[in-house]
């Protein structure tokens, strides 16, 4: 299942994926946008935030220096 979205993206940002598609690195812009969103969500995940909070607590309470 997919959801159509409308997004205003700077022209220059659209031109770069076009080169990747032309050279065969991706099928189409949909694939690139999906991958970009997936990567963003991975690097901003709740699990990651929780791990960093635990790291802060450990350092703050029991760290050195």
């Amino acid at each position: 299942m997919t959801t159509p979205i409308h997004a205003d993206i700077p022209d220059q940002l659209v031109q770069q994926p076009a080169i990747l598609i032309r050279d065969g690195w991706a099928t189409d812009l949909d694939e690139i946008l999906t991958d970009a969103l997936r990567r963003y969500l991975t690097s901003h995940s709740a699990e990651l935030s929780e791990a960093f909070i635990r790291g802060d607590m450990e350092w703050g309470l029991r760290g050195e220096g």
Partner: protein, 149 residues
Amino acid sequence: MAKDSAAIHMVVCDAGPLIHLDELGTLDLLGDFQSVLVPDAVWIEVERHRPDLFGRTTGTLARIVPQRPPAASLAALARLMPLHLGETQALQIAEEHRADPLLADDTAARLAAKQTGLSVHGTLGILLRAIRRQQREPRTPSPRNSSKQ
């Protein structure tokens, strides 16, 4: 704030901890680090959100302008995460100056720091560290405050 042999010598600070510590009225805690490097792009970002912040800090904070573009590996990582200019400069300066730790709250920046082998901590860690180093007292919420939650 008293310096001691156990103090951390040099840290690099991203915008998040500066802004959040200032919001909490605890910016003085950065004075417990012997040197706090603030990347130029971070400095500009913080001034946009908290125009008078740097005017209220003592000489602890040092504005640092990167002397060269980031390494190709860091530039690639910055595009991948993605990272803002200030976060990228913070990683670059932390590596160049061997600062430890990097102080940052942004998840992507922290993930990138981990991947480059840098230790990284955020505002929460700085606050808890202040309690461990007896610069702040832990406060237990009163029953009245607890009932509001």
